[in-house]
């Protein structure tokens, strides 16, 4: 039940355009004491149905840049394979600390984020 509540909250945050996964993963490891790798895989898997729905909406609204995306996808796949394999070689302890560092900088970015329009 707690897990379901946490997932709804992080979904709301991602729906609003702020990184939902970056807050879901620490919630899963700190509150539910899940292993770092498991928490990360939960975020990756849950992103698939959520993003699929979002892609359909954005496609209808003609917001996707189809000239740019193939290049980003092809190069991104190389990075994704390398990152996932490297991650599988790390212990959960080390990965958790590295993730914390990444999260720290993402948090600072969100705090200092300023939109031109604002």
């Amino acid at each position: 039940m707690l897990l379901f509540l946490i997932s709804i909250l992080s979904g709301i945050i991602s729906g609003m355009g702020i990184g939902g996964g970056t807050i879901l993963i620490p919630a899963l490891t700190i509150i539910l004491k899940l292993d770092q790798h498991i928490a990360q895989s939960i975020n990756l898997i849950s992103f698939i149905p959520i993003a699929s729905v979002a892609v359909i909406t954005h496609f209808k609204n003609k917001n996707i840049d189809f000239k740019l995306s193939p290049k980003l996808i092809v190069s991104g796949i190389i990075g994704a394979v390398a990152g996932s394999i490297l991650s599988s070689f790390m212990s959960s302890e080390v990965l958790r600390k590295l993730f914390a560092l990444f999260l720290f900088f993402m948090g600072i970015y969100e705090i200092t984020y300023k939109k031109d329009r604002e």
Binding site: F4, L5, I6, S7, S10, G11, I13, S14, G15, M16, G17, G19, G20, T22, I23, L24, I25, P26, I30, L34, H37, A39, Q40, S41, I42, L44, I45, S46, P49, V53, A54, V55, H58, N61, I64, L68, S69, K71, L72, I73, S75, G76, I77, I78, G79, A82, G83, S84, S87, L95, R96, A100, F102, L103, F104, M106, G107, I111, T112, Y113
Partner: protein
């Protein structure tokens, strides 16, 4: 705002976002959106939409590699998928992209707090 869109620059952005997304199981989009806006001069709304379209196949591939390495626990993954979809729908209806600065600061601060908590 048209900026130089050399293939090397695009490829570097793609590799980095994919790498971080695979390594940390998240954050690919959080890096990709500002990279597209500031380095490639893509309009912010388009950058958001394009980032999701790009990260989707990358997450599928990373999920598969995590699965192969036995890092997947299906029951919580399915519960989070269901809850996440409900939440994402509410979030999108609640506020469409124009996220108030106060909210960003609250979430940013929670991220920093969680980061510190995870190290100790």
């Amino acid at each position: 705002m048209k900026k130089n869109m050399s293939f090397t620059k695009i490829a570097l952005i793609g590799v980095c976002s994919g790498f971080l997304n695979g390594l940390f199981g998240s954050g690919g989009g959080t890096v990709l959106v500002p990279a597209m806006v500031f380095l490639l001069g893509v309009d912010e709304q388009k950058a958001h939409a394009t980032a999701i379209f790009v990260i989707l196949p990358l997450s599928i591939i990373s999920s598969f590699i995590y699965f192969k390495n036995n890092f997947v626990n299906w029951p919580p993954a399915l519960i989070v998928s269901a809850g996440g979809m409900i939440g994402a729908y509410i979030g999108a209806k609640l506020l469409n992209r124009l996220t108030p600065r106060a909210l960003r600061i609250i979430f940013g601060a929670s991220m920093v707090a969680a980061a510190i908590r995870m190290v100790f």
